[in-house]
């Protein structure tokens, strides 16, 4: 009997041994591309295989019955297939779909991202903003090496795709920054007020941007401040004319941080030493201080504050055409505060913030000892914005919000003839928006938005549609088609009295094709902007480079069209990172005091920029070169004759050329846990000494004076020191 049982048991085992099932197949990804290195797993067993270079796999298993086969491929969504194992060979054809980080993937649309982060989509690193030659340690100037931005050296702001500087608005933590640039005098652009190192992310959308923003007919730059610094540190930046000292402290758990920075600018001796073309009586001087704190609340939200105060002044001398010297003196101060709160509830994200700004600028122009003209601007601005973003489903994102922008400006204008004009401008802009992003298929997504605005000054409302269609082409190419209407209030500086006006309007159509990988970045953008209801003005008078204009109607029109190419390569040449940016712009507009449709003074037909960086590892040195070429912008001499705007003189400025170089020495590279990370740099602007002209100043005497760059060629050395206070012992485990 025991023998029978033994036989039975053997039969049972051999029976089991006989029912081995061979599982084979092929795994492909998008476009039937064979996927190698995919882990094929028979769930809860050790059995499985790795796909070979042809995507094929094969393995045998003694398991039987209903089983689950899992397919794990790097960069692809996990896939499960139910199988029935009976001993009969199974052959499978498996198609994996790419992993698509939903929120990031969806919102990575037509906004061109220049992010201070480590993602492959990053265009510029924080250090790029301090070390790119020709960028003058300013964010906006450094962004000028990207396509779409026009070279306008004598006015502050960013001129994008044929739009004026006021058509590009800048936002910090969602709220508008009314005075992003320092107060200055006409002809000398004010510097960026904000240092790139306080921001963790910057998005520069050069056209057809989201419904979450408005009041900018051309483009927007959105900046987000750091949540918490990496470590406690003290920093020092020294240039011959600028000194900055700062301190930032963060607790080990990164739940509370605070810090501040003070900057002193004193350029007088430097302007004399470098033979500045502008004659400074008192070189630009400024004092700037800022303070910030961040707090992680018990509920997991983050509260951030940033505030600054600065004062600046300058006095320049200019010939007035009658053998006299005109003295232009400027004095200004500004305080800015931004308080922001954000909380992530998982599916929903809430953000809310308020920004306050108080700005004062006084400019006086006089010949001799009498003050002949005084221009005083006072502005107080309060902005509030709140947004709620919800992921309603893995493929559907909804973003809504509302905001208020309250402006109160007082302008005082007096001339030697004792004209004394005081104007007041008050406007409360209320806006609400709703935007949905729907991922229709793994390749196609659609973003539609609607933005509503109401302006108390215009006593009108507007409703603007925004739409973007995104399609992922094979081989990592992406394409976007966008359309939107962008409304903007006329600039307050022309509105001395209440007259019936309309919102200015730009209808934009943008096509974008791009491929972004860690090593290469190619982008082609084509755009068409149709302008309506642009502000028309009467030219009242001209003082130095100040045109005093009064609004008459919003009846101007214009159009801008063109295309841009961008190519960045980090791989072909070892240790060399370079990019080439080309912009073609064809634009005409009839606005302000233009007597007809003219090619505007702030646009160039062709702009080419080349930026190249090479890092010499053994020398710990990086050499950067930037070159910009732009075809000459037009200049116009417009005068009012018998109440009519007349073009007296016009022409083209010489082509703009500038080759800039900087050398950075980075001694801490390769050091283990460096205590201090210092960078020493030498910067040369306009190395070849091109004589660039930015505009012409037409004097009453009939003479015309060129408006030259403040300095033609400049060279300076600088150092940035950063002392980290070592708290590695306080860092918790697994914090990478």
């Amino acid at each position: 009997m025991s023998a029978k049982i033994f036989l039975l048991i053997i039969c049972l085992f051999s029976g089991l041994a006989l029912s081995q099932t061979t599982v084979s197949g092929i795994v492909t990804g998008s476009d039937r591309k064979a996927l190698a290195g995919v882990n094929v797993i028979l769930k809860d067993t050790y059995h499985g295989a790795t796909t070979d270079l042809t995507g094929r796999f094969s393995f045998s298993t003694v398991a039987t019955g209903h089983q689950t086969l899992q397919f794990l491929g790097e960069g692809y969504k996990p896939f499960s297939e139910q199988v029935m194992l009976t001993g009969q060979a199974i052959n499978l054809n498996i198609r994996l779909t790419p992993e698509f980080n939903e929120i990031e993937g969806i919102t990575l649309n037509s906004e061109s991202i220049t992010s201070l982060g480590n993602s492959t989509k990053t265009l510029l690193q924080p250090l790029d903003f301090s070390t790119t030659p020709g960028g003058e340690q300013q964010m906006t100037k450094t962004l000028g090496f990207l396509p779409g931005v026009q070279r306008v050296g004598d006015k502050d702001g960013m001129f994008v795709r044929g739009g004026t500087a006021s058509e590009t608005k800048i936002f910090i933590n969602g709220n508008l920054v009314n005075n992003y640039f320092y107060n200055s005098v006409a002809g000398i652009p004010g510097r960026d007020r904000f240092n790139a190192n306080i921001f963790k992310r910057s998005n520069f959308s050069r056209g057809a941007y989201s419904a979450a923003y408005g009041q900018a007919m051309s483009s927007i730059l959105t900046l987000e401040t750091l949540d918490f610094p990496e470590k406690t540190s003290a920093n020092l930046m020294l240039l011959p004319f600028l000194y900055t000292a700062g301190y930032q402290q963060v607790n080990p758990k990164k739940t509370f941080s605070f810090g501040g920075e003070a900057t002193l600018t004193e350029m007088n001796w430097f302007t004399k030493a470098m033979n500045y073309q502008t004659d400074f009586n008192t070189g630009p001087k400024s004092v700037h201080s800022d303070f910030n704190f961040s707090l992680k609340t018990k509920g997991g939200g983050i509260l951030k504050y940033y505030g600054s105060y600065d004062q600046n002044r300058v006095e320049i001398l200019s010939p007035d055409g009658n053998d006299n010297t005109l003295t232009i003196s400027q004095k200004g101060n500004n305080t800015y505060h931004n308080l922001y709160y954000k909380k992530d509830f998982g599916r929903t994200k809430l953000t809310t913030g308020v920004a306050l700004s108080f700005n004062h600028n006084n400019v006086g122009l006089h010949s001799g000892s009498d003050v002949s003209t005084k221009i005083q601007n006072k502005g107080s601005y309060v902005n509030f914005k709140t947004t709620l973003e919800t992921k309603l489903s893995p493929n559907f994102l909804l973003n809504t919000g509302f905001e208020f922008q309250n402006t109160l400006e007082n302008n005082h204008f007096s001339t030697f003839q004792n004209d004394d004009i005081t104007t007041e401008y008050k406007n409360l802009l209320s806006a609400a928006f709703i935007e949905s992003t729907w991922r229709a298929t793994s390749k196609l997504f659609l973003t539609t938005g609607l933005r509503f605005e109401n302006s108390t000054w215009l006593k009108k409302s507007d409703l603007a549609p925004r739409i973007t269609l995104g399609y992922h082409l094979p081989d990592d190419w992406e394409s976007f088609l966008s359309y939107g209407i962008f409304y903007q209030n006329p600039d307050s500086k022309y509105l001395s009295r209440q007259i019936p006006l309309n919102y200015q309007q730009a209808d934009q159509y943008v096509l974008q094709i791009q491929k972004i990988t860690a090593d290469y970045n190619f982008r082609l953008e084509a755009f068409y902007k149709n302008y309506k209801n642009l502000l028309k003005t009467n030219l009242i008078g001209t003082e130095y480079l100040y045109d005093i204009q009064n609004a008459t109607a919003t009846s101007g029109t214009g159009c801008a069209r063109g295309f841009e190419l961008f190519w960045r390569d980090r791989k072909t040449f070892k240790t060399v990172d370079y990019w080439i940016s080309y912009s073609y712009l064809d634009t005409k507009r009839d606005f302000l005091d233009y007597p007809a449709l003219l090619f505007p003074t702030f646009a160039s037909k062709h702009t080419l920029s080349v930026v190249a960086k090479k890092f010499f590892l053994p020398l710990k040195t990086q050499i950067n070169l930037t070159y910009t070429f732009a075809t000459g912008r037009p200049y116009y001499h417009i005068a009012m004759i018998n109440g009519e705007s007349v073009l007296r003189e016009h022409g083209f400025l010489p082509d703009y050329n500038s080759l800039n170089m900087s050398i950075n020495y980075v001694p801490f590279v390769g050091k283990r846990n460096p205590k201090n990370t210092s960078i020493f740099f030498l910067s040369i602007s306009n190395l070849l000494g091109y004589k660039n002209v930015f505009d012409y100043n037409f004097l009453p005497s009939g003479q015309r004076l060129p408006v030259l760059p403040v300095v033609n060629t400049t060279i300076y050395v600088g150092a940035i020191f950063n002392f980290g206070i070592d708290r590695t012992k306080d860092i918790l485990e697994n914090d990478f």
């Binding site: 290195g37 067993t45 790795t50 980090r570 590892l617 390769g670 846990n673 990370t677 990478f736």
Partner: protein, 215 residues
């Protein structure tokens, strides 16, 4: 009847015993396979075998440890040949496996050494852009391991390797490296892993470098 019962119990025990060492046997077999792997795809296949073991066992950290180590070995084989462009492809799955091992309370010292190696591979893809981020992560992990276990032979081995390969401007020192390789060799002789499966690799690497000094 008694015989039947006995046979039955023995069979039952037998299957139980077989199941117990199935994990150990498979791990041993796969570890042997790891030593023989040469091409990146072979290392990846070994890594994925370890992953399958880890996913089936659910409570063991060692399979995920070796899954990460296999990917890192794939990366290192390319790195030795100077092919640094695609190292993310091996470093990233290694990091995922390390995290899985950490979640199962794996040995922090050995895992920190893997973190050091994985992030070092990532940094090598683009040193000038990544030394501040991946380079720092790699260094911090190594410092933690060194502080916790300065006499772990792999700690000494990896420090020696860094000194050996780094250019002198960055603190490289071939002489000191050789001293440390010798020290590592000594430590390997006396190191006792907690079990047959616990990390014990590296002695052959130390031998290799020590043989180089004879040249």
């Amino acid at each position: 009847m008694k015989k039947l019962l006995l046979t039955g119990i023995l069979l039952l025990l037998g299957t139980f015993v077989i199941a117990q060492s199935k994990y150990e046997t498979t791990m041993q077999q796969t570890l042997v396979g790891l030593k023989l792997d040469k091409t990146p795809l072979e290392f990846v296949a070994t890594s994925q075998m370890f992953t399958r073991i880890g996913m089936a066992e659910k409570t063991q950290w060692l399979p995920f440890y070796y899954a990460a180590l296999s990917q890192i070995e794939a990366g290192r084989s390319l790195m030795m040949k100077g092919e640094t462009a695609d190292l993310d492809q091996y470093a990233d799955p290694a990091i995922t496996s390390i995290k899985q091992a950490q979640a199962l309370n794996g040995d922090p010292v050995e895992l920190n050494l893997l973190i050091k190696m994985a992030y070092q591979l990532k940094m090598l893809v683009n040193p000038s852009a990544r030394y501040m981020t991946d380079g720092q992560t790699s260094d911090t992990a190594f410092q933690k391991a060194k502080e916790a276990a300065p006499n772990n032979p792999r700690v000494v081995l990896l420090e020696a390797e860094d000194l050996y390969f780094m250019p002198t401007q960055f603190g490289g020192d071939k002489k000191q490296a050789m001293v440390l390789f010798a020290k590592a060799k000594e430590l390997f002789k006396t190191f006792k892993p907690k079990s047959d499966l616990e990390p014990n690799w590296g002695e052959s690497d130390a031998d290799y470098f020590l043989s180089q000094s004879q040249k």
